[in-house]
């Protein structure tokens, strides 16, 4: 699903956000991306979501080389990804239902199909009864769940989450992580950037660790000695 071959990202001014990062995430796999703040987690996610382009190396998403994607193709590639943000990025001028329905509206789905899928996504995060509410009236955890519903409503192949539990207490964080695991179990690839190491340890999933732009720990490429 995701392949990085010696990817480097240098920002104008000479700051190296990523240096020679290689990794891959198989289709249907789930992994955590950790590292202290400023280690390059966000840059890595931004390269996958076509916000930034690598300075060197190859980044592939579903075998598409992200360096060669043209501007007009970007929206169509992003439709294959579901994004979850730390601050959920809901639009406060419309209802929960309309927020969740946005990816489907953008893609020109039929009205009945939109209603059906949006309710299904809201049901999955346990907020079907709030569909008519405005996001501002929901709690932080509920807002994040609406964000997740919006990210999965169009059945993306890949879920990318950037510190999804950053603003939540441990109980809510665990709930949110469990939702990601549920999606992983039905075949969606999931990559979650987080620095909540206690929670990550509990969940027993592969971990990628970045330090100052370099991949220092990579469970995914780990080959046990005896296969060696």
């Amino acid at each position: 699903m995701i392949e990085f071959h010696n990817v480097s990202k240098r920002f104008p001014g000479g700051h190296d956000a990523l240096t020679n990062v290689s990794m891959h995430l198989d289709k249907g796999a789930m992994a955590f991306l950790t590292g202290h703040s400023g280690a390059g987690k966000s840059t890595l996610l931004k390269i996958i979501s076509l916000i930034e382009k690598p300075t060197r190396g190859q980044a592939l998403l579903n075998h598409i080389n992200l360096s060669t994607v043209t501007k007009s193709q970007i929206p169509y590639i992003r439709r294959k990804i579901g994004f979850i943000f730390q601050d959920h990025q809901l639009l406060f001028d419309r209802s929960v239902f309309d927020n969740v329905a946005m990816p489907l509206t953008i893609q020109g789905y039929r009205h009945q199909e939109i209603a059906k899928r949006t309710r299904a996504a809201l049901d999955k995060v346990g907020l079907l009864h709030k569909e008519k509410s405005l996001p501002i009236t929901l709690s932080g955890g509920e807002q994040q769940r609406v964000g997740i519903a919006r990210a999965v409503v169009h059945k993306p192949m890949l879920l990318l989450a950037d510190e999804p539990t950053g603003n939540l207490d441990p109980v809510l964080s665990r709930e949110i992580m469990q939702i990601f695991i549920d999606f992983h179990q039905v075949g969606v690839s999931v990559l979650v950037a987080s620095h909540d190491l206690n929670l990550i340890d509990e969940l027993q999933k592969p971990v990628l660790t970045l330090n100052r732009g370099q991949m220092i720990h990579n469970d995914l490429d780990y080959v046990p000695d005896f296969l060696g």
Binding site: Y76, M102, I106, G108, R110
Partner: protein, 319 residues
Amino acid sequence: MAAGNIRRDNPATSNKLTAYFLHHLQSLVFSLGKIYSAPATTIMTVAVIGITMSLPGGFYLFLKNIDAMAGDFRSSTQITLFLDFGLDEKSARSLERQIASTANVKSTQFVSRAASLEAFRETSGFGKSIDTLASNPLPHTIIVEPANNADTFTIKNLLNSLQSLPEVDIAKLDTEWLERLYTILEIAKRAVGIITILFAFAVLLIIGNTIRLDIQNRYQEIVVTKLIGATNAFIRRPFLYGGLWYGLLGGITSWIIVEAGYMAISEPLNRLNMLYQADLVLITFSFHDFIILITSSTLLGLTGSWIAVAKHLNQIEPT
């Protein structure tokens, strides 16, 4: 993966064309809803556009009225033929009948030299002096009224052909002042043209600026929709329709302003009519004018927002 595969159609989407038109309709209604939900901003923008457009609109109507009045004067144009001094009354009367039957002549009136002298004696105040004259110095005259639909050129031709008649001494048409009026009108029309162009630019700028502010206010929304895969065309649409609504409502407002102005003028004009026993009638916008006004303001709205959107929307990228 080949580039073509990236734009794979989703099987669950409805007929692409239907979805396309559906989104256009949604954007149209959505942008109207936005306008409705921010009435203060909308009313101000629409009022500014309306006032701006009402100026060239008002000037246009003013000219249209002057033009119509000038047309009335033209139809009352008369040619006076002073006949040869030696011509007797009988031949003069037969000449009158002959002229009356030529093309582009509406009517003729024969005034004998005796009648002319009588009229002159009464109106000029030289009564006594005239009595001292040995003979009547005035010739027979024929007053020729050209056909109503005759334009300046036709009237000139008619004048020339009448002048060339052997029995006619002098053919006189007092058109100089009319020609001056037409020249002034021509200048005024050009001026209105320039004003219209300038104000059209003003409307473009006003709408462009409003849409620019609108884009800034919805920065976050644009970023989010771009991140979840909205194409630029999709994001552009509500703003373009917003501009269209501003233009349409502004056009209607300017129409109302001009009509109200003319209603205010028509009341004293009626009094003037009574005082002078004239029948000046104000012309307001015809249906045709109305359609042109509304269409052009709507197109200006669309163009203004298009410029703003093209300039500002592409600069917004998720970071």
